[in-house]
Symmetry: C2
Subunit: 337 residues, 2 copies
């Protein structure tokens, strides 16, 4: 039995997966914590230690990250080095750092080429999917972002490697099901039968929309709420009412649900448009593989494009939970040795 610990260090969530290669397949355990690195970056090693405590620390460790983009760091170089320091402190054996080219490098190399290992987690999951689905599009909808990665003939055929390149290509969408500011998702919402411009504060986020509409369980709304109040439908309605500078005494619940539905529709539309563009370039209609907390959004987007969607855990026959990239790099590390 060989065990590998995979880390996916995001700016708002730290996730880990312990992958054991056992007779007949893989045994996967995952653990994660919401952690907003810009609030207290010095706590990262402690958070990682707590997560590792829920799993265990094997000799083999693999690492991927997106936290380097956080404005806790002046540059990605600074962020990558900070995450490498934290990971080194909580790692027993050698640390393999995953790159956007799908290969691992050691920590020294990663420090010299920070852009090579910055925001590479999408590639890890895509490589894992490509082993099982030779022609498809992986949609990973997280709390904050959505990755759409095309796979053709068993190869990852993504356009762009870095975050800016992938934004330009429409394969990284900066929209997710928890943290995205409603004011960045839509410029107008329906109010009294007319389009009403939205307040550009951080009054309400995607989590409020999906909790109010029942697509998301309040227990899964793990990011801080904008007003610091609970992630329940009632408080979500209060937050959404502020988006049109109103409150729950001025608006009916029906009016607030209409606002939420308009935002959700816009978000599905955004993902569907990106999916359609990518699918159009593939030689045949792809199978869509969805994962992440916002998998339901990927399913809706696929449906809007007339494409069939399957959940990643079903495809793999193992439960990757909400930590697909962490599972994927642990798995990649175990087969690469």
């Amino acid at each position: 039995v060989t065990a590998v610990l995979g880390w996916d260090i995001g700016g708002a969530n730290v996730k880990a997966a312990l992958v054991d290669t056992v007779p007949g397949g893989l045994q996967v355990t995952t653990a994660s914590r919401p952690f907003e690195i810009w609030k207290d970056k010095s706590a990262l090693p402690t958070v990682m230690q707590a997560i590792a405590g829920e799993l265990r620390l094997p000799v083999l460790t693999a690492l991927t990250m997106t936290a380097e983009l956080s404005d806790a760091f002046r540059t990605k170089r600074e962020g990558v080095n900070f995450v490498l320091d934290a990971a080194t402190a909580v790692t027993k054996g050698p640390l393999a750092v995953f790159g956007t080219d799908g290969r691992f490098v050691d920590v020294a190399t990663a420090r010299v080429h920070p852009l090579r290992v910055a925001a590479a987690n999408w590639m890890a999951t895509a490589l894992l999917v490509a082993r099982h689905v030779p022609d498809g599009i992986l949609i990973d909808v997280g709390s904050t972002t959505t990755d759409l990665t095309p796979i053709e003939g068993g190869r990852v055929v993504a356009e762009g490697r870095t975050d800016p390149e992938r934004l330009l290509a429409g394969q990284l969408l900066y929209t997710g099901v928890l943290r995205t500011n409603v004011a960045a998702m839509v410029s107008e919402v329906p109010l009294r039968g007319r389009p009403c411009p939205v307040a550009t504060e951080l009054f309400s986020v995607a989590g409020d929309v999906h909790v109010l509409l029942g697509a998301l369980d309040p227990d899964d709304y793990t990011s801080p709420t904008p007003d610091g109040r609970p992630p329940t439908p009632d408080f979500a309605a209060e937050r959404l009412a502020r988006v049109v500078c109103a409150d729950v005494e001025m608006l009916t619940r029906v009016a607030i649900v209409q606002i939420a539905q308009a935002v959700a529709d816009a978000q599905v539309g955004q993902v569907a448009a990106a999916l359609k563009r990518i699918a159009a370039r593939l030689p045949q209609p792809p199978q869509v593989i969805v994962t992440g907390l916002g998998a339901f959004l990927g399913v809706s987007a696929a449906k809007a494009c007339g494409l069939a969607a399957r959940d990643l855990s079903d495809v793999l026959g193992i439960d990757v939970g909400l930590a697909a990239p962490a599972v994927a790099i642990a798995w990649l590390r175990s087969v690469e040795r």
Copy 2:
């Protein structure tokens, strides 16, 4: 000599004006503090006390507010009552609370009709302008929002009274020159000659745009920066680079300035479009009166519409500084007695 103290209690700034009626006109002194009420609302009386200490506490006091919309409060009713409590605690004589109908009410009445006194500050300034400019449009561009108020035949002819009504009418724009999230101002910016979708974090705000372009002095960027670093052009460039998930090692300064210019152009375009709609309904081309920290934006918008713009302080012959609504309600209170 009669003195009136006017308060304008916003969610991000607390402003006051002491207006003395002296032989030959008015003598105006203003004072203000940036104060984000959602971070520690209990400090409001202390902040008001400090501002009053810079001026003085006459017997006559007038109050207007927009802070009630902050998510420090579950409803506007709660917010209005909280502000009334704070103002009462730092007021010597009777407190006159300004309403969106242009009239003052006492505190007891304001408590019973919170929507009447919520977000009424735009009306105060417009009434003052209407005494001097019978046909015009007042544009007050602040740190967070922009009010456009039409005046016809010496009367304020605004469409809508409450914030939601004024948003729907296009007479309240939720865009300002400091606090507005870039991701809520534009969905794409130019990068490598192509439109690049923006990251929907709070990475950069309008203050970064205008400081980098030289339209705003860093000393006037008084709101907290998103990354907590200084409000200088260099740090503004770092924040703006993150908007396309990049950093200052990946982008040239010229590329970042292009991003800033695109955001500024979009903002001028938004204000100009609203101005054009309002002007089209007036019988003759209006004079545009600009005020606020973002008066320069109002001037650009007027120019884009082919309209002449004058600064409010020039029109009045008194320096209202950045506290036009506070000056206006103090003045209104002094003439109403």
